[in-house]
Symmetry: C2
Subunit: 462 residues, 2 copies
């Protein structure tokens, strides 16, 4: 399924233009350049035939119908903040950008939001908050990532250790299928088992099965203001041991780990008051109600102390707590300034987190590379970031080897090559190693059943 070599080079783009408002189909070189890659900076991204920026589902249907007729690949794209190359353009294909479709309609009584895919996560959170409600999922990129992308990758985030991932909040969706039909799956019902779980099949499908044009998201009353705990440890391993101990007793509302390299990268980029001397940092939160909050924080403090924490700091102040969460979220952009990067997203069962972090450090040392690591530690999901010098072929080669070895280490520990970013194009070489040939075959069968001509995001994942 690699690429699509059947694309018609003479596909009549004028026909598509004629069926859509004048400014929907863009072919200016600067547009093409701006829309043909996501944050993974995929060097293999192709040059698209055009960027299509529809304003409603009908325009999406017209685009997909034209593409199906002429066998032109379609790569759906949200805000382009993806980290695995899931939205890399396919040469000669269309980039179908949903960035103009961003309506948000909150139904307070039903506690749901109807959201178009281009709306940013932060915009949904804000719209819900205006009505006294809360949209929980919070990928670190929430300020810049779209809901469509969040749903297409089943994005995680910082609060999922307690509140779950994007999938847990998607009750329904409208999808344009590979033949241009528009269907509605699920809806604003909390429980619904009528037919196969197609809503959940489309969540995390990375644009391979259809183009999501609207989602129904579950909202809830906001949780109490959290208390935030910051603990410094002599080593990454001792911090990871604390995580395992905390998670065996409770599910805090956040439990993030930063290793020494990522702490220093953040401080180098923008001084945020983190302890540069720490071997590792844990940022934990409790939003348990009332007095239970103090109990949960005390439990986390005790676990940190027993695991060898050097210092534990607790604040009930929301702004101060948010500053630490912000420091954690700043890790990607900070580390990106240190060189070229390859972003990892490997995960393991929580008790194996210390082993995974040790394995990552071994890989870094063996290949003489800096691999700063931050982690949604409470879920066993880590983001080692391989930093390399793109101008030095030897460094590039070592980086590729390290990237592959980190995934292999996760698989060897019974883990996954991607916990929340998706496979995209960056990780597809390793997918069979995790899933095995029979499960790859199942994936391909489902893909072929819904997109027999392989129009939708060809070359991604499979």
């Amino acid at each position: 399924m690699d690429g699509m070599d059947t694309a018609d080079p003479t596909a009549p783009l004028d026909q598509l233009r004629a069926s859509l408002p004048a400014d929907v189909v863009e072919t200016r070189p600067d547009s093409m350049e701006a829309f043909r890659r996501d944050w993974s900076r995929d060097a293999g991204a192709g040059m698209p035939l055009a960027v299509v920026r529809p304003r409603d589902a009908g325009e999406v249907q017209a685009t997909v119908r034209w593409a199906a007729e002429h066998r032109v690949p379609v790569v759906p794209r949200g805000a382009g903040s993806g980290l695995s190359g899931g939205a890399s353009a396919v040469g000669g294909g269309l980039v179908l950008s949903l960035d103009r479709m961003r309506a948000i309609d909150v139904d307070v009584a039903t506690q749901v939001a109807y959201v178009e895919p281009g709306a940013l996560n932060a915009e949904v959170k804000a719209a819900a908050a205006e009505q006294g409600l809360w949209y929980a999922p919070d990928p670190a990129s929430y300020a810049i990532s779209s809901i469509g992308g969040n749903v297409a990758t089943n994005a995680g985030g910082l609060c999922c250790v307690k509140y779950g991932v994007t999938a847990d909040y998607v009750l329904g969706m409208d999808v344009v299928l590979a033949d241009g039909r528009l269907v509605t799956l699920g809806g604003p019902r909390i429980k619904d088992v009528a037919g196969l779980s197609l809503v959940q099949l489309f969540v995390g499908s990375e644009g391979m099965l259809g183009v999501i044009t609207r989602v129904v998201l579950r909202l809830q009353p906001p949780p109490p203001t959290p208390a935030t705990l910051v603990a410094t440890f002599p080593t990454t391993r001792s911090a990871a041991d604390a995580v395992v101990a905390i998670r065996s007793a409770t599910r805090p509302s956040m439990l993030e780990l930063m290793d020494a390299a990522s702490v220093n990268a953040v401080e180098d980029h923008r001084a945020m008051g983190l302890d540069r001397s720490a071997g590792a940092l844990l940022i934990g939160r409790s939003d348990a109600p009332g007095a239970a909050r103090a109990d949960e924080v005390a439990l986390m403090e005790k676990a940190c102390a027993e695991a060898g924490a050097v210092e534990v700091f607790v604040t009930e102040d929301a702004d101060e707590g948010e500053m630490f969460a912000e420091a954690r979220r700043a890790a990607f952009p900070a580390i990106e300034t240190r060189g070229s990067v390859m972003l990892e997203d490997v995960g393991v069962p929580v008790p194996l987190l210390p082993d995974l972090l040790t394995a990552i450090a071994d890989v870094a040392e063996r290949h003489d590379l800096e691999i700063p690591t931050v982690a949604h530690a409470g879920d066993g999901n880590t983001h080692p970031i391989v930093v390399f010098d793109a101008a030095d072929p030897a460094s590039v080669e070592r980086a590729h080897a390290a990237f592959a070895e980190v995934m292999a280490a996760a698989i060897a520990l019974g883990g996954t090559i991607t916990g929340e970013h998706g496979v995209g194009r960056a990780k597809k070489a390793a997918l069979p190693d995790q899933l095995g040939e029979d499960v790859m075959d199942l994936n391909r069968r489902v893909k072929a059943a819904l997109d027999p001509a392989n129009i939708l995001n060809p070359g991604a994942v499979l």
Copy 2:
């Protein structure tokens, strides 16, 4: 996809027998009778060729391989407590009963349980509790229903208003596919987006896509002991209004409704101290920690009072509270003693619950039938139970009409024909009305991709 008329009537059952231990393939008439129907008492259930009761995944594979070779339908079956005819035998096919596969292995550190499909929900709860952990999902049938059936139907229950449904607790599974291959999907990782969400596709697939031979279930520390609130209302509508008000402010750990007819049915069957004069009863619970529990109970009390509750009773005593939950769970068996029954499972967005209950009462009155109704009210999911006289053709006809009209009413309110029981055979006639032809087509395509010969549970759902 109705039935399978291609089954080979001369399929060499001896060949299957020879490939399995002597007692695995049963053909005695009493076995056939005991295993060919679930709790829905489907009059259309066929007479199977044999009942196969394997002890491990290898024996399941041998059975499915033989069935695939000879095009013999296979109906997987857990404990037979299904309410929609999902496990009705197909004439000339195999009933594949998983009741002998019931190993439970709790991994305390990872907070998961590896469970074979025949283990009862209650057995999993007990095994988790022995290790200080909790398996949350609690269908009313938890004492008699199997985990395999819970997963195959994506079973709900009483606690899902706060804790979610079975799908939220399934991290992975082993499945025997239609061609006999055994695959492992997902695993004990909290976050994993490698490839399509096949685990979630198999959850709720009602035996149509594969035979589940093991699941990985998420466990968690147990919640605090709940406080229980019981409120009586003059009318069903006022109780439903209280539900809407409570749910707009919080997610209690239980919020069940019983109408007057179901209260009286339970009391007739076994006196449990419920108020027979009540127009409707709400049973709510809070398991919020510490002082937050009293706050949440007070909030529920206030909402009940404002909606017109006649009396509100609160107990912090766990046994007393459990008695009320037990009375709610007793509704099905109690109502079953009143005549023949057709069990409904319709749901709507929570704010429309009062309208749905009014519509159900209208249907009952119009057809001169008793339709006692209990509801997982906090989720908008109701169980109207159509009681009729099987010996009276007119009564049977009216019951069928009422059953269809209740589903139509739910669909008209933007709801679902099944919130947690599954479509099975009892509701498949109404499924296209809810999903529409395009979504039915999607269901069929996925089914055909995974089971091209339509061996697995043919005639169910689609």
